[in-house]
């Protein structure tokens, strides 16, 4: 690293510590982490983009100049003007309002599907890693199988089984992300399991589920959070892909992927219909990727130098 050496850098990577110790150093280690994070310009930019999208999603009803579903609020297929900053689509709907509302679906699907995948994947990874034996073999072989599917193909197949709708999109996207969470968790559990404090808890008569919940999980959390941050962008891309193929939330729901798909038919006369929602999608993804990279570089103790 070209950056000047600090006391932080001279210290070895902190070993996983038990709950009490982490609590005692809590505030200062958070502040130190924030200082590392704030030095990473890309990560700060990513965080700003993410917060902007969150604000857009929460206050969509205040920010959107028009009703996203109202047709004929302007002439159809009109490029950007002062009254319609992002132009209008083929139904004369205001594109900017639809893009702002589109942030809701993107964020909800992106975050909820990753949380769902995390809940299932981490549980499976904890069980497989801690209990071992045939449970480990069974769970991890199923995960290997799921891992072999490209995420978009698994999501497409799930949509075929479940039918359309936002809830089903969330489930379809989540299924593809279970295996990575299970793998990351299991790998770290295998390492943590051998730590003396786990053995101490075991000898003290703490039950296995309690050891997993209270001592193993907190110590494998950092890489899981990193993994979650990195996957949200993938989840949003997968949702947009499904919507683009016509397998997402049904029309007239404002969804970025379907808006891009609708614009394809007007690419010659009104290219803004496809291109502008894509810019919103791309900026969101770039921001999330930079944020995820930043969290990985600053949070994952294995990468910390």
């Amino acid at each position: 690293m070209a950056q000047p050496l600090t006391v932080d850098d001279a210290l070895p990577a902190p070993a996983p510590s038990s709950g009490e110790v982490a609590e005692a150093r809590g505030p200062s280690s958070t502040r130190r982490w924030w200082r590392r994070f704030a030095r990473n310009r890309g990560a700060v930019f990513g965080l700003a983009v993410f917060l902007a999208v969150v604000v857009m999603a929460i206050f969509a009803n205040v920010l959107a100049p028009y009703d996203p579903l109202a047709q004929g609020v302007g002439p159809a297929n009109q490029g950007p003007t002062w009254s319609h900053w992002a132009g209008t689509d083929s139904f004369g709907r205001d594109m900017l309002s639809r893009i702002i509302y589109g942030a809701r679906i993107a964020l909800i699907v992106g975050i909820v599907s990753v949380l769902l995948a995390m809940a299932i994947g981490v549980t499976l990874g904890l069980v497989a890693g801690y209990y071992g034996g045939w449970m480990d073999v069974l769970i991890m072989r199923v995960m290997d199988g799921l891992f072999a599917f490209p995420i978009i193909i698994l999501a497409i197949a799930m949509m075929a089984v479940m039918g359309f709708g936002v809830k089903n999109v969330i489930i379809a996207v989540a299924v593809g992300f279970i295996a990575p969470f299970a793998r990351v968790t299991r790998a770290d559990v295998l390492a943590v399991k051998e730590e003396p404090y786990i053995e101490a808890a075991r000898l003290a008569g703490v039950t296995r589920p309690a050891i997993i919940a209270r001592h193993v999980l907190p110590n494998v959390l950092a890489p899981i959070i990193v993994q979650a941050a990195l996957r949200v962008s993938g989840a949003i891309i997968t949702e947009s892909g499904l919507s683009f193929l016509g397998l997402g939330p049904p029309p007239p729901t404002p969804v970025w992927g379907s808006m891009i798909a609708e614009g394809r038919n007007f690419i010659v006369m009104a290219p803004h219909i496809s291109t502008i929602p894509g810019i919103a999608l791309m900026v969101t993804i770039v921001g999330l990727n930079l944020l995820g990279d930043g969290l990985r570089d600053t949070l994952d103790p294995r990468l910390r130098r």
Binding site: V142, F149, A160, G257, I267, G278, M282
Partner: protein, 314 residues
């Protein structure tokens, strides 16, 4: 080496088995009666019972799976519900354009990623580094289907240099094929280059930090020679693996890229079959696609073991 090969081969068989169970389960979870779907609207009760017995739907679920697996192993994927063509033939015909697209994208991606990754690592923290890594994260984050539409807008609609849709096999008319493949391959290939460039950079930086490089530098080896003669070969070994393992990602990306550019490949076949509820085709296409990915991954792992003697002992 033989033991490594056998154990990897066994793992691959286990994955293929799990994949087949997952696909079988998914297809059985689909709402609706598959027998009625095969027979269409017009059938007799007798024909219904006969087909039900023939397909084994009156037996237990395990037997049903075994019957299904046996047919698959014989290479019989059944007939399309829609036009009664053999699924084998449909999938095989769709596989060639997809494979062509994936290979072309890999070539485009490597051609961009190798130079930009090396430059970024050699001039770490310079404008070159920032520029090429910024470009990498930019093209990597662009959703492929949107990038395709933007490329069509610029290069087909506005400039008129390339056709917007269509596919010609390279062995029929090579130059025409390349001309039609250019935009789709750039769409998918730039995504791939973003991924690979970042890995080349970090892998090269890691190798440049090793003792043998420091020793060479101390002996007075020039910087360019250091990178090209000493570091690059070692740095590229993990990259070869990554390139191979991304075959699945590229196949997934091809689904959307094909839809945008009207390429009659696996992605279009699968999506159209899902929209038409033609599940025999869905099942065949997904099965063949995922099997291809698993087999490529096995080949990559074995190549890696061959290239890098250090990991053979497992």
């Amino acid at each position: 080496m033989l033991r490594c090969f056998l154990s990897r081969f066994g793992q691959t068989l286990a994955v293929l088995f799990t994949v087949s169970v997952i696909i079988f389960a998914l297809m059985r979870l689909i709402p609706g009666d598959p027998i009625m779907m095969i027979l269409g609207d017009d059938f007799t009760q007798d024909a219904y019972q006969k087909l039900r017995a023939k397909l084994g739907f009156d037996r237990s679920i395990v037997i049903q799976y075994l019957i299904w697996l046996e047919a698959i192993l014989r290479g019989d994927f059944g007939d399309s519900y829609l036009n009664h063509e053999q699924v084998n033939r449909l999938v095989w015909e769709a596989f060639q354009p997809t494979l062509t697209l994936v290979v072309a994208s890999m070539i485009v991606g490597v051609l961009i990623a190798v130079p930009s990754g090396i430059v970024a690592a050699m001039r770490k923290d310079s404008a070159w580094d920032w520029g090429s890594m910024g470009f990498a994260i930019f093209v990597y984050s662009m959703p492929g289907f949107w990038k395709g539409i933007v490329l069509i807008w610029i290069f087909s609609v506005y400039l008129g240099w390339f056709p917007a849709v269509g596919y010609v096999a390279p062995w029929q008319d090579f130059w025409n094929s390349m001309w039609r493949l250019a935009l789709p391959a750039v769409t998918l290939g730039t995504f791939f280059s973003g991924l690979v460039a970042r890995i080349i950079r970090s892998s090269l930086l890691e190798v440049l930090d090793l003792d043998y490089i420091k020793a060479a530098r101390a002996r007075g080896v020039r910087r360019a020679a250091l990178v090209y003669r000493h570091a690059l070969a070692n740095a590229l070994i993990p990259v070869v693996t990554v390139i191979g393992l991304q075959f699945g990602t590229l196949l997934g990306g091809a689904v959307l890229t094909e839809t945008v550019f009207g390429i009659p490949g696996m992605g279009r076949l699968t999506v159209a079959a899902i929209l038409n509820r033609d599940y025999a085709v869905v099942q065949g296409a997904i099965l063949v696609g995922v099997f291809a990915i698993v087999v490529v991954n096995l080949a990559v792992d074995l190549t890696y073991a061959f290239l890098n003697p250090r990991i053979r002992v497992t």
